[in-house]
């Protein structure tokens, strides 16, 4: 899609088709001859892994929809029938349920890779924004899919998330209630809600696929970023996508699938919650409700704020801030390989987000660091809620203070002239050599 096409139709049919619908040319230019930086590491394989995950979810989802009944009286039983009666239904459902977790695991690694190597910086801002849109669509799809089995966690997940909009009642009285009534199609989460969630859960993955197309298009115009963050300067810096990255991505997908299969066949409910095997009961909330693991950091931020509207804003803001990252980071250096201070702040940020996730899985009043005991002998001290406040502060601080200010204060390490020079010097050439010499060497090698 970028630069001049090198495709030459081989057969008469290809020549005939090429002037009518150049679809073979498109495939050749984007998947075979697409020039790719030669130094991409395994963190770059998660794009391919994510495409694989989307395919798995769509295929397993379409076949599950052949057996599922989106009706509040029958949904739970139809899922149990899939588990017990439908041929291989148990496997299809466990692939789909664990596939969602695998999808989020891969997307979090993919986003972290982008944050670390500065993949969001010019000229890749649109690529980054499209990625953020995909992430939002993924969260909406996963949330609505989790509601479909109509267990207790499904039901109260739907109740809590849709009620987030009721916080708008404190902005304009009645607005939040109007929105929640519209979302529910009634006065509570009920059959109408389940039905529309199923329709949208089926629709959204295809919208994701469409935005993925745009995401790849926006990738192929500037080309891949790479671990050095240095732009491709010449043909010496690249290799064709096939066979170099089809094989590397393929190997990564195989390794990923082995882990995926381990969950499906040996620990299919490890990432789920037992309460979701209890049919939904609108009159009784489970004693301890938690979202799926991939939403826990945001859930912890929601609970960290004592005010309802501010809590909801803190949660949505944590995702919204990702959209602004290309303009928040003021550093000219892309890769954090050459930004020691930024690297440290980033690793702390990753740890903070993981600990926020841990906080989200705990009760709000659980004690993290005990400083004493009350009369009943229970520990007192730093609660999960207060601890989450400090962590949320760092989460926001990283984006709103560290990234903007570090560009002015940080002294970056020297950045190599080209992609080729650090690759070659790392392989025993010792001293850094001029860019031209490196390019020469790689030509001979």
């Amino acid at each position: 899609m970028s630069g001049h096409s090198t495709y030459e139709p081989k057969t008469g049919f290809e020549r005939w088709l090429d002037v009518r619908l150049p679809i073979v040319r498109l495939g050749y230019d984007s998947l075979i001859d697409y020039p790719t930086p030669k130094n991409l590491n395994y963190w770059w394989t998660f794009g391919g892994i994510l495409a694989f995950c989307l395919g798995v979810q769509i295929i397993s989802g379409v076949v599950l929809a052949m057996h599922y009944v989106p009706n509040s009286a029958m949904a739970f039983n139809s899922v149990e029938a899939i588990m017990r009666d439908v041929n291989f239904g148990w496997m299809l459902r466990y692939i789909h349920a664990n596939g969602a977790s695998m999808f989020f695991l891969a997307v979090y690694i993919h986003i972290s890779r982008g944050l670390y190597y500065g993949s969001y910086k010019a000229p890749r801002e649109v690529l980054w924004l499209l990625g953020c849109v995909i992430y939002l669509l993924m969260m909406a799809t996963a949330f609505m899919g989790y509601v479909l089995p109509w267990g207790q966690m499904s039901f109260y997940g739907a109740v809590v998330i849709t009620n987030l909009f009721s916080a708008l009642d404190s902005v304009i009285p009645g607005l939040g209630t109007m929105i929640t009534t519209w979302l529910w199609g009634g006065f509570a989460v009920d059959n109408a809600t389940l039905n529309r969630f199923f329709a949208l859960h089926y629709l959204l993955p295809f919208m994701i696929a469409g935005v993925v197309g745009l995401h790849i298009w926006a990738l192929h115009v500037p080309g891949n970023n790479n671990p050095t963050g240095v732009a491709v300067k010449s043909k010496e810096d690249t290799v064709p996508f096939h066979p170099y990255y089809t094989v590397k991505d393929g190997f990564a997908v195989i390794c990923f699938t082995i882990m995926f299969a381990w969950f499906v066949f040996f620990a299919p409910n490890a990432l789920a919650h037992a309460d979701n095997y209890i049919p939904a009961n609108p009159l009784q909330t489970p004693a301890h409700i938690v979202p799926e693991w991939y939403f826990l950091p945001f859930y912890a931020m929601l609970r960290a704020v004592p005010d309802k509207l501010l809590g909801v804003m803190t949660m949505f803001g944590a995702i919204a801030v990702l959209f602004a990252v290309p303009w928040l980071d003021t550093s000219k250096v892309r890769s954090m390989r050459y930004r020691p201070a930024a690297r440290t702040f980033f690793l702390i940020f990753l740890a903070v987000t993981l600990i926020l996730g841990w906080c989200g899985s705990k009760e709000p009043d659980d004690v993290v660091i005990a400083t004493g005991h009350d009369i009943a002998g229970d520990p007192t001290g730093l609660s999960v809620t207060v601890f989450s406040r400090f962590l949320a502060l760092y989460y926001y601080g990283y984006f709103l203070a560290v990234l903007p200010l570090l560009g002015f204060f940080e002294k970056a390490k020297p950045v190599p002239e080209t992609i080729s020079s650090p690759v070659l010097s790392a392989h025993g050439h010792g001293v850094a050599m001029p860019a031209g010499a490196a390019a020469e060497a790689s030509k001979k090698g």
Binding site: A188, P282, Q284, A287, K308
Partner: protein, 187 residues
């Protein structure tokens, strides 16, 4: 090249921007057409949005009747009304006294106990059993002798008033009336 691009000499004339000429008949047709399509599009979109609002049969499920004689002193019944739980609490004299004693305590949404029940029916508390934070169903308990929400720890007192936790408002009161001394109609 043959000049067939614009066969109508009047239109051609109208386009030759003369000073003071405000626009041609073609401009008018463009504006009128786009405006009509725009209004039509909005009018067509509305049914596609409004179909998600409660349907006629959902709106028709307006009221339920409940026999209070089944609810003993100190116990609570949960009734499903419009898909939501309604708590019918038969309060003990001690609970009523506590609620009245707290009438002037600092509260997020101050309300006298008398405003939380029907006149002369202080023993009967009828509330929508939905936490005003994010919609979970509170359980009996909490430090104020009323309800405790399991989701995010909101605490309500014996009159269903919010006393602690993230919820912004007291538990809502449904529309209800006493048909007989032992029967209520909710909704």
């Amino acid at each position: 090249m043959v000049e067939t691009a614009n066969a109508n000499p009047n239109v051609e004339h109208g386009h030759s921007a003369q000073p003071g000429d405000e626009g041609s008949r073609r401009d008018f047709i463009h504006i009128a057409a786009i405006a009509t399509v725009g209004v039509g599009a909005v009018a067509t979109v509305w049914p596609f949005i409004d179909q998600m609002n409660p349907s006629a049969d959902t709106l028709a499920l307006a009221s339920v009747e409940y026999d209070l004689s089944k609810v003993l002193v100190g116990s609570t019944a949960s009734i499903k009304w419009r898909g939501k739980p309604v708590f019918v609490r038969h309060r003990t004299p001690k609970e009523i006294a506590e609620a009245v004693a707290d009438d002037h305590a600092p509260m997020r949404e101050p309300a006298a106990d008398a405003s939380r029940h029907k006149p002369g029916k202080a023993e009967w508390l009828v509330l929508i059993g939905v936490c005003t934070h994010l919609g979970c169903v509170p359980n009996l308990g909490g430090t104020y002798g009323g309800w405790l929400c399991p989701c995010h720890g909101s605490v309500y007192d014996t009159a269903g008033r919010i006393r602690a936790g993230p919820a912004p408002l007291n538990l809502f009161l449904p529309d209800y009336e006493f048909l007989t001394p032992t029967k209520v109609k909710i909704g």
